[in-house]
Homo-oligomer: 281 residues x 6
C-alpha cells in the first residue's frame, strides 16, 4: 500500500471506532477529561517484533481529531525491541484516550502477523524460497494482513477469488480431469490472469504441466515427492508447497527447492504483538 | 445473540464475501463449475475444539444462494472432535465453493476463540471465578468474538466505551484522584451504567471502595496482594484480576477469590480451529 | 458527547443534507447566488428555551463548505431568550442558504427536547429526584435526543436493548415469574450490566428485591403505592416511577422519594424550539 | 408511496433497529425468551388519532424475522379510536419483543403528524384551501412525515431543495430584485420545475406576478392584506399563506381565499400518538 | 451544481476509485514510484469538444491526496480544442498516476455528453426550441449527465420519477383515459409538481389540454402533426417533441415551433471525448 | 459472473433505483395505478444486437417487488433481432412501470457494449487475435461492462490497478528504464500477478523482453513495426496492440499476428442498444 493507503482503510478504521464508541461515545473519558486538555502519548512495543499496521493505527486518532499529529519512529516493516517507542502522538487527551484501544488493536494484530512471518522467513535464511500467505485471513482484514505478511518479509498469494485462478480438488472433480479444468479456465479468463493447479500426486503434476499452467500447488506431499515434483516442474511452472508446514518443518520443505511455501497460520493464528499507549502525566 | 442474530452480522458477512469476490467474482468456479450443478458439502472439524461462529459461517452460503439449506449437527457452544461433521450444506455447487473460504474463516477464527476460552474455564473447574474477555478484539469482529467467549464458557466485560465506565490510570491521573474521577463519572452517567475502577495498590483500592463503585480491576497484582484486595472488597465491589495472566497462573489467581479474571489473549491471540469443507464427489 | 462528537453524528448530518439536496442540489440558490459570494449569518432564537444540537447544526454548514467558520455564543445546555444570537456563521452564501434548513431542523428539534426537559427539572427543584428519558425516541436520533435531555438537566436511561437489562411484563410472563426472569438474566449477562425489573404491584416489588436487582421500575402506581414502594426498596434498589406522569403530576410523584421519574414525552412529543437564520444583507 | 414502498424506507428501519440493538442485541429478551417460542401481538391505539407509518412499523418486525406475518386492521390514512387494534402480528416472540419499540416509535411519531394534520384539515372543512407541510421536518424522516401529512388529509410542498424553486428573502436580496431573481431561476431550471416566490408586501406581489411565477408565498401577512393579495393573484398564480398560523387562526386565514396554508408545526412539533404492543399471554 | 457540489458526487468518486484500486491498490505505481516524489501533470483534450465533469475528475485526485492542487484552465461548459490544457494538477506522483484513469473516465464521459448536446444545440441555432435530455441515463451517473447536458447548452427534463408527473401510454391505458389519469395525478400530488402527458394523436392532445396540464409530450409525430399540435397547444401547455429525432431531423422538428425536443441519445449513446493526463518527465 | 452474480450487482441496482425514485417514489404510477393490479410485460429489442445485462435489468424489478417472475428468452451473450422478446416479466403493474427505466438503462447500455464488441470480433473472424477491453469504463459499471465485452465475444484485460501490473510511460520515466521498472515490480508483487510493459519502440521491446515480462503492450505502432514486434516477442511474451485502432483498421492490425488488440471505445463509446418494455393492455 502506498502513502495514499488511508483511502483504502479509512472505512475499516471508522467501523472499528464505531464498534467501540457505540451510540454514546466514551463515557469515562467524556466524564473525566476536559475537552480542551492536550497531551502527548507514546505508542510503545512491550515485546520484540516486526511492526505493521502503523497506518490504520495512527489513522484512528486522526479520524477522531484532525488536529492530532503523529511522529513515526519505527516504520512499517522494521523491527522493534521491547520498550521501543514506535510513534509519538500529540493532540487532545480525549482523542488519545478514546482512540487508544482501536489503534492498538490494529497495531498489535498486524504486527503479530508480521512477526510470525518474520520468524519463518528467518528460518529459511539463505534459501531462495519465498514465504507466502493464503486466503485464510480474518474477515474484513485481508488487505491489511497481506500487507503485514509483506512487512514480515513474506510474499502474497492471490488477494481473492477474482485476481487469479486456483484449481482445487473440487474443481478438478467437477471438471472430470485436470486437463479439462485448465482448458475451461483458459477459455474463460483474460490474458492477465495466472492459473495455478493444486496437485496431490506426481501423475496429476504431469497432467497439470502438460496442460500448461503458471504454477502448481503441491498439496501435503512428503519431502521425497516434493523433491521429484520440483524436478519435474523446473522451467515449466512455479512450485508451491502447502499443507501442514510447521515452523519445525519449514526449512526442510524449502530445501527441496520449491519456489514458495504457503502457510495459513501466518494470518489466521498469529498471536498479537504486545503494544501499549503511554500518556505522558 | 438470538435467532434474529443474522440481522446483526449480515453486513459483516457481506463485507467478507465482497473482500473475497472482488469485482469479478470467483474466476475459477465460474469457469469450471456449471451453474445448475448442485452438491452436498460437509463442514468438518479437523481438530478438537469448542464450536462458535456457525451463524455467520452458514449465512455466507445463504447470502450467495438463498436456496442453500443447512443442517446443523454441532451447535454454537458445543464441542467437536477431530473428524466430526459440524453441519451439512446443500445447494448450488458454485455457492458452496465460492462461499467456502469466507464461511471457514469465520468458523475457524471464532471456534478458535471459544476453544481457548474453554481451556481457561476448564483450568478453573470447581472455582466460582468467571473468565472474562476484554476490548482487545479484532477490529470489526467484537460482537462475534464476545459471543465466542460465551460459547467457550466465559463471560463478557463491557462491549465498548459507551456501555459502562472503566476508570483507568490515565483518567485518574487527569482527574487528580480516584475519588474525583469517580465523582465526575457518577455525575455524568445515568443510573443504568456500572462503574469500575482500575487500581494498582491497596491504597487505591481503599479509595475506590470509599468512593463507591460497582467493581474494581486489580491490575498486575501479585497473589498476596490479590488475596488482601479480595478481602477488602468483599461485599462492597466485585473484584477483577487482570494483567499478565497465563494458562499456567490462571488457577492460582482465581484461587485468591477474585470474582473474575480478565484475559486479552482470549480474543487477540487465539489460534484458529482447523475446519474444512468436504464437497461430496 | 465530547469535542470528538462530530465523528458520531457526521453520517446523520450528511444523510439529512442528502435528504434536502436530492439529486440536483439547491436549485434556487444555485440559480440566484453567485458562487464566490460570502456572507455572515446569525443563528437566532425566536423564543425562550434551552439550547441543544449546536454540534450537528453547525456541522451541516461545515460539511457543505469546509471553509465556513462558526462562533458559538450560547453553548449546548445553556439558556437562550427570544432574540438571542446562538451562533454567528461566516462563509460562502451558497453554503449558508443551502445548509440553513438542515441546521435549523437539528437545532430546533433538539432544543425543543432540552427545553421540555428543563421544564420538568425546574418543576422538581429542591427534590433529589432525577428526570429520565426513555427509548421512545425519534428513529435515527436517539443519541442526540439523549444528549438533549442531559442538556435540559435530565438524565439518561439505557441507550438501547444491549447496554442494560430491563425486564418487562412480557418477559416476566414468558419466564413464569420475576424470580426466574431475573435468574435467567443474571446467568446470561456480564458483570458490567445492570438489571432493572418493571413491577406493577408491591408483591412483585418484594419478589424483585428478593431476587436482587439494581433498580425497579414502578409502573403506573398511584402516590400511596409509590410511597410504600420507595420505603420497601430503600437501600436495596434504585426506584424509578413511570407511566402517565404529566407536567402537573410530576412534582407529586417525585415527592414520594423515588430516585427517578422517567418520561417518554421528553423525546417523542417535545415541540420544536423556534430558531432561525438571519443572513446579513 | 406505493406497495413497493418498503424499498424506500428499508434502510431507515434497519438503521433504527441497529440504533436499538447496538452491538449485542436485546440482552433481556435473549436471556429470558426461548428462541423457538412464537406469539401473537396486537398493535393498539391508546388514544384517538389518524394512523400513519404502518409500513415502516410492520417492516421492523419483518427485518428481524422474515417469518413474521402481519394483518392490518386500520390502514394508512384511516382513523383509530383509543382501544382499537391497528394490526395483529404473529411470529417468534423474540422478534416481537425486540422490534416493539422501533415499530412503535415509527407508528407513534408518524400517526402524531397525521393526527395534527387531520385536526387542521377538519378546522377548514367546507373551504377549498389545502393544508400544506414544509421542509421543517425531522432529520432523516422527511419522506415519511410528508406521507403522514397526506394521511392526515394535507398536501405536500416541495420535498427538498431540488424539486422546485422557492425564492426567499435572502435570494431576493442577493439578486437585487424579485424580477431579477425570477429571471435567473427561469434561465437555470428545466421546464418541469415550478417556481414560487416569497413576498412580504403587495408591491412585491405585483412584481412577482409580473415576472410570471407558478405560486406566491404570502409571508406573515395580516388578514386584510391576504384578502387583497388573493384578489391580485387570482388566475395568475397559486397563493400560499405562511407564518404564525395557529389552530385558532387557521380558518380565518383560509377564509381569505388562499389556495393553501403551510404550517411547519405539522411535522416539527406534533406530539406522538400513544400506541402500544400487547403480546398475548 | 454549485461550488458545494463535491458533497453531491463525493460518494460516486470514491466508489469509482475503489472499483479501480480493489483490495491492494495500484500495484504498478506502488512498486515503481517513490512515495515522496511529486510531479505536475496536464489534463489535456485530444479532440475538440465541450468540457464537463471537471469537478468529479479533479476530486478524484483530491480524495487520494488532500495535498493535490489543481488549476482549472477550461471551466465546465466551455469549449476545448484538441491539444488544449484543461487543468494543471500538482501533487504526489503516486496520486496523479493512481487517480488518472478514474479522473479521465469521468471527464471523458461527461464531456462526451456535453459535446453531443452542443452539436444539437448548434444545429438549432436561431430557433427558440430547447434541447432536453431524458431519464435514459447511465445507472449511477444521472445528476452528472444532466449537468453535462446543461454544460452543452441543453436543458433538463425531470431528474427522476418523484419530481414531476409524466403520464405515459401505460398509465393512460390503466386509468382508462387521459382525463381520468390527469385527474388522479392532480388529486395525488402537491401544488409544486408539474404534470405532463404523452400523447400520440391530436385527439389525445385535445383531451390532455382540456384536462389542464403543464406540458404535452408529442410522441413520434410526423412534421405536419407536430405543426398542428403546436398550434393547438399554444398558450395552454408547453410542447415537447420526442421519439426518433436524429441529428439530421432535429432542425426540422424544432422548426415546427415545439418548445422542446427531447433526445435520449444525448446521455445514453454519446461517445467519450478523448482526454489524457500528461505527467511531466 | 455466475448465477450468484446478483450479490455482486445488488448494490448497484439499488443505487440506480434510488437515483430514479428519489425521496417520494414514482409520483405518476402511484397516483394512477392501483396497488393490487398485476400485469405482464415484454422486454423487447428494437434493433439487432448482442444481449448483455439481463441479470441487473431483471433484478431491478425483483428489488421493487420480490413477487415478480421473469422468463428469459434470450440469454446473456446471445443475439437478438429487432422485434425479438428478450424476457417476459409478470408482477405488480406498479413494479413493472416503476422499474422500467432502470432496467432498460442497464440492458440498453450493456447490450450496446456487447454489440460493439461483437462487431469487432466478427471483423477478425478466422484470425486467432483476441479483442480486449481496457479500464476506460464508465465509473461504477466496470464489472458489468467487462462482462458485456465477454458477452460480445471479447476478452478482458485487467479489472483494476490491483490485479496485474501494467508499466506505462510515466512509470518507466520515473524508474529510469524499463529494466529497472520491471525489476521493482517483480520484487514487489506476488507470484500470481502478471506483468505487462507498454513499449513504443522496438528498442524498448527488446529491453522489456530481456527483463522477462508476461506481455507487452505495443502502443500506437504502425503495421510494419507491429509485424516486427510480433516476430521478436514470439514465444517470449504475449503481444497486445493498442492505440487508435478503428473498426476499419482492426483486421489489418490483427493480421500482424498480435495476440490481442485492446480498444477503449468498446466500453466508453458504445451507443446504447434500443430496448423497450411493452406492458400488455
Amino acid at each position: 500500500m502506498s502513502v495514499l493507503a488511508s483511502f483504502l482503510y479509512d472505512d475499516l478504521v471508522r467501523a472499528a471506532l464505531r464498534e467501540d464508541l457505540g451510540r454514546a461515545g466514551d463515557l469515562t473519558t467524556d466524564a473525566i477529561v476536559p475537552a480542551a486538555l492536550t497531551r502527548e502519548a507514546l505508542v510503545v512495543a512491550r515485546s520484540d517484533g516486526r511492526i505493521s499496521g502503523v497506518g490504520p493505527a495512527l489513522h484512528a486518532f486522526h479520524v477522531l481529531d484532525h488536529g492530532v499529529r503523529a511522529e513515526l519512529l519505527i516504520d512499517e516493516g522494521r523491527d522493534a525491541r521491547a520498550g521501543d517507542t514506535i510513534a509519538i502522538v500529540r493532540g487532545h487527551a480525549r482523542a488519545l484516550l478514546t482512540g487508544e484501544r482501536t489503534a492498538l488493536n490494529f497495531l498489535g494484530h498486524l504486527s503479530g502477523v508480521a512477526t510470525v512471518t518474520r520468524g519463518v522467513v528467518r528460518a529459511l535464511e539463505g534459501l531462495p524460497t519465498r514465504v507466502v500467505c493464503t486466503r485464510k485471513t480474518t474477515p474484513g482484514l485481508r488487505a491489511l494482513e497481506k500487507q503485514a505478511v509483506r512487512a514480515g518479509g513474506g510474499s502474497n498469494h492471490r488477494f481473492g477469488l477474482d485476481d487469479a485462478v486456483l484449481i482445487k480438488d473440487n474443481h478438478r472433480a467437477i471438471a472430470g480431469s485436470v486437463t479439462e479444468a485448465v482448458a475451461r479456465a483458459k477459455a474463460a479468463v483474460g490474458h492477465m490472469v495466472k492459473i495455478e493447479v493444486e496437485v496431490d500426486t506426481l501423475a496429476e503434476l504431469d497432467e497439470a504441466l502438460a496442460a500448461g499452467v503458471d504454477a502448481v500447488l503441491l498439496d501435503n506431499m512428503d519431502i521425497p515427492s516434493l523433491t521429484r515434483a520440483v524436478d519435474l516442474a523446473r522451467g515449466r511452472a512455479l512450485t508451491e508447497a502447502s499443507g501442514g508446514i510447521t515452523p519445525v518443518t519449514a526449512r526442510d520443505v524449502a530445501a527441496t527447492g520449491v519456489d514458495m511455501i504457503s502457510i495459513g497460520w501466518l494470518t489466521h493464528s498469529a498471536p498479537s504483538l504486545d503494544v501499549a499507549l503511554d500518556v505522558a502525566g
